[in-house]
């Protein structure tokens, strides 16, 4: 009985842990290309054929490069985009044929005997480890670092401190924030010339009567286009400076039925009822979540949806969040009209616009 247990049905001796003995590597089988010279020749021709195809594709690549134009003019030879397509197709095929050729060669013609190699444990032999440890200890001993704590500790202290320059040197990467995030260019209107609200892109001022109920207009402060009118140096609203202003000052106007508006409270607890003009409200366009410009308007609900993370704000109710991840309402800009009847900002936002940050204060609407 026990004899029967130690022998598997195929006659091999059983390893102690394995219920079935290792039958060993299967015998090598010859491929047709190993035994048939005709097939071998054919495979050789195929490999060379792939390399030949690759060469043809490379020549076609060169031809495409020098004949096809990438201008976006539809009338140039082969038209728009043909150059990229031809270059990609020819170069791609030329590379792939090289790869296919080499792999075909290795599979059909190179020796396909699997060979076996012994593994070694990842660790070093025991005597090497002992010797290394001895050397290490000897080195530490000869340095005296263990016996001289004064040297060791002062070195550690000095090395710790020398890390500081690496941090300090980064200081001039940028200025300190200061109160820059709390103000926008909307507050830079001058006496008699409050900051006009103008259409983004065409920079024309807006009369309240221009807007129908439900209309939404993307706006910017007039100063970005007309700095002199507000005694602002034009270089302060050019290039990058303009981008910085836009990233805080971008505005949406929405006209709704005045009866729909539920005026909230401002920072000092006063009602916002005189912040609107004929049912027109002005809110920051910059989302209070992570700062995307909000632009999807649900006309019938006066909800505004951010396309990035879907925070939804109710512009009839102090810009409060009705859905999504944003944590606080959109800042509202108090609107008025100037002596010519154009919409203006009576003052700056009374809270920072854009994404939240640590030092930011908050008040209930």
């Amino acid at each position: 009985m026990s004899d029967a247990h130690n022998t598997d049905p195929h006659g091999g001796e059983l390893a102690i842990s394995e219920p079935i003995a290792d039958p060993g590597l299967p015998a090598h089988t010859w491929r047709p290309t190993d035994v048939d010279p005709a097939k071998e020749k054919r495979a050789e021709r195929q490999v060379a054929g792939f390399f030949g195809l690759s060469a043809i594709c490379t020549v076609l690549f060169l031809v495409s490069y020098f004949t096809l134009d990438i201008d976006d003019d539809w009338h140039v030879f082969a038209g728009f985009g043909a150059s990229t397509m031809a270059l990609g197709a020819t170069l791609g095929l030329s590379l792939m044929f090289i790869g296919i050729g080499i792999i075909h060669w290795s599979r059909k013609l190179m020796a396909d005997n699997e060979i076996s190699e012994l593994r070694h444990p990842a660790n070093s032999p025991e005597e090497d480890r002992t010797a290394t440890l001895e050397a290490l200890n000897l080195g530490i001993e000869e340095s005296g670092i263990g016996r001289r704590p004064l040297i060791r500790n002062s070195l550690l202290g000095a090395m710790g401190l020398v890390g500081l320059p690496a941090v300090v040197l980064l200081r001039d990467l940028g200025p300190l924030p200061g109160d820059k995030l709390e103000h926008t260019i909307w507050g830079q209107g001058v006496k008699g010339k409050p900051m006009r609200v103008v259409r983004d892109g065409i920079w024309t001022p807006i009369l309240a009567s221009d807007l129908e109920i439900g209309d939404l207009v993307n706006c910017q402060p007039d100063a970005l286009h007309n700095p002199e009118r507000y005694d602002i140096d034009p270089t302060e609203v050019e290039g990058i400076a303009a981008q910085v202003h836009k990233s805080k000052a971008s505005l949406v106007l929405l006209r709704m039925n005045p009866e729909d508006i539920k005026p909230g409270k401002d920072k000092d607890g006063n009602s916002r009822e005189n912040w609107t003009v004929d049912g027109i409200v002005a809110y920051s366009k910059i989302c209070t979540h992570v700062g995307c410009p909000i632009s999807l308007n649900e006309r019938t609900t006066h909800h505004l949806l951010c396309p990035c993370h879907q925070s939804t704000f109710d512009l009839a109710d102090s810009g409060k969040v009705v859905f999504g991840p944003a944590g606080r309402p959109l800042p509202q800009l108090p609107l008025g009209v100037d002596d010519q009847g154009y919409l203006v900002a009576t003052r700056d936002f009374d809270e920072p616009v854009g994404p939240s940050y640590w030092e930011r204060d908050y008040y209930e609407r």
Binding site: L25, D34, T84, G88, A89, G92, V244, G291, S356
Partner: protein
């Protein structure tokens, strides 16, 4: 097939190979080099180093080769790209944007696309290669985890791999932000929001990185330095370390006849493996080139230059940044306002907490598993995912979490394409990211165990032959035939799970306090880890089962011989 071995070719040609120019010249060069570099000893072992073959070992190679393509195409792009945010008026070939003011970065990107022949091809290849680089790293990681290839001695290579994935992701983000187009600028805008949400130092980090207020004129040049120097340098060093460790440990292999923990079976590096890997480089390169030439990617000329007041609907980051973005979309509006400060949980949790946490979980997985199982042995044979049900279930749960978060990152697209309410999708996702992984864990674990039982059944009772036999009484039975010995060995050549310690054993070990508690926790986790797993049959069980099966087979055959149904197995 009987083969006349006398005709076996001993060379690849019809005549025996003679030492002509090739080998002699190679020998001379090798001598020259060895007398100066002394590489002969190292090469002696490594030129014929054995690499096992399996399709799944190719996934890491895709990552490696796409990284090489990234280096090549990236150098090409630096020759024309101008990483400057200085405002210029575009005057290049692309008509719809001519005259528009934009940054030099955007203008030079358009020049590369429309005024440099092959420039758009290289740009698109670079972007496609980046996508493939990260995707193949992820799939390679799944392969390594699900087959247990991360176990001792390869844990450090797993850690290096996790860092490569992290760096690859950052490299991708800094890279696709460089053109300064509307889409990527929106991504940088969100990144500014993430930084500002950091407690205490948020605004300072933002002002320092952007060189002032967002967007400033510094972010593109700074991303450029990171993208072409700092991160690729670290990536290159880590890739080298990853490869060196692979060579040192020798590749893992699947269990099978002749393949054991002590050996490695496969093709020698020279010529077969070198040819296959080298040839595969050209195939990856070629596929990426075809993608770059034929499939448009990141058409920045359609997005236009960045403007902080503009955005398009459907704005999304590249796919590998999608899962934190999804969490950012579905997180409730949690902000704490207290003592005049703001804590933005709605940004911190999905962006500043979850991705680092996910990375730490990934890095910890091998060490956690080794601690729970108490396994200190070296492992070179791969495990089939079914034979480690809990491990497999953990990864599938993580994949489910990842997949749901990623889908949440496209909630607007899902809403539009499938005519669903975005609010309902969001509410659903809020629950699904918690419940989904749990369900996935349970299903996967049971599924694995059921597959283990199937394997056990095949070992004990043979495979289903498809031959149905009707007995004289009218009953039906299917004939089972024994597995070929190679297949039976393949199924049975695996470790049995250790038996977890019992509470009594631990309590009698004389431990006390924290150590005792930890040991008990470990025993409990091990019990859960191995619960319900099927162990492979013992030699005795196998013998009895085979005996029984042979008996049944005899009976069936007797019935076939006696009955009207005379089909033998040979007829099928």
């Amino acid at each position: 097939m009987s083969v006349d071995l006398s005709k076996v070719a001993s060379t690849n040609g019809s005549t025996p190979a003679e030492a002509k120019g090739g080998p002699k010249a190679a020998g001379a060069i090798a001598n020259w080099a060895d007398e100066r570099l002394g590489l002969g000893t190292a090469m002696k072992k490594n030129l014929r180093k054995v690499f096992p073959d399996h399709w799944s070992f190719m996934l890491g190679e895709i990552a490696l080769w796409s990284f090489v393509v990234l280096l090549l195409t990236g150098v090409f792009l630096t020759l024309w790209f101008d990483p400057s945010m200085t405002e210029v008026q575009y005057n290049g070939s692309y008509d719809p944007l001519r005259g528009v003011h934009m940054s030099s970065a955007m203008a030079s990107t358009l020049d590369i696309s429309f005024d440099v022949r092959g420039g758009l091809l290289m740009r698109q290849m670079h972007h496609w290669a980046a996508m493939i680089f990260i995707a193949s790293m992820m799939i390679h990681m799944l392969r390594v985890y699900l087959t247990g290839a991360f176990r001792k001695p390869r844990e450090l290579n797993w850690v290096i791999g996790c860092l490569l994935l992290l760096l690859g992701t950052i490299e991708g983000f800094t890279g696709y932000s460089l053109p300064d187009d509307l889409l990527s600028g929106t991504g940088v805008r969100a990144a500014d929001g993430f930084m500002k949400a950091s407690p205490v130092v948020g605004t300072y980090m933002s002002f320092f990185l952007f060189g002032g207020e967002f967007p400033g004129d510094s972010i593109i040049p700074r991303f450029y330095a990171m993208h072409i120097l700092l991160i690729p340098g670290i990536l290159l060093a880590l890739v080298a370390a990853h490869m060196l460790l692979l060579v040192y440990h020798k590749h893992t292999q699947w269990a099978g006849p002749g393949r054991t923990e002590e050996n490695v079976v496969g093709y020698p590096m020279l010529p077969v493996y070198a040819a296959k890997a080298g040839g595969f480089f050209f195939i990856v390169f070629g596929v990426i080139t075809l993608l770059g030439g034929l499939f448009s990617l990141n058409p920045v000329w359609k997005f236009g230059p960045y403007d902080p007041s503009k955005v398009t609907a459907g704005s999304q980051p590249d796919w590998y940044m999608g899962w934190p973005d999804g969490l950012l979309r579905i997180i409730p509006a949690w902000e704490t306002h207290i003592f005049g400060i703001t804590l933005s949980w709605n940004v911190m949790l999905p962006i500043l907490v979850m991705p680092p946490l996910m990375l730490m979980v990934l890095i910890a997985l091998p060490f956690l598993e080794a601690w729970i199982t108490g396994d200190k042995r070296e492992h070179h044979l791969l495990q089939r995912p079914r034979n480690a049900p809990t491990r497999t279930a953990i990864m599938v749960a993580l994949m489910t979490f990842y997949g749901l978060s990623w889908a949440a990152g496209g909630n607007d697209i899902i809403a539009i394409k499938m005519h669903l309410s975005i609010n309902q999708i969001t509410y659903f996702m809020r629950g699904a990211v918690f419940i989904g992984p749990v369900i996935a864990f349970i299903i996967t674990k049971r599924w694995c165990i059921s597959l283990q039982r199937h394997d056990e059944g095949k070992l004990l009772h043979g495979y289903e032959s498809g031959v149905l036999v009707r007995s004289p009484e009218g009953g039906y039975a299917e004939k089972h035939l024994p597995l070929p010995v190679e297949e039976a060995y393949r199924l049975s050549a695996r470790d049995n799970d250790p038996t977890p310690e019992t509470v009594e054993e631990i309590e009698s070990s004389g431990l006390a306090g924290r150590h005792l508690k930890l040991r008990k926790l470990r025993a409990k986790l091990a019990a859960v880890f191995f619960a319900d797993n099927v162990q492979k049959p013992t030699a005795e069980e196998l013998h009895d089962a085979q005996h029984h099966a042979e008996h049944e087979l005899h009976e069936l055959e007797a019935q076939i011989a006696a009955g009207p149904n005379k089909h033998g197995p040979a007829d099928h």
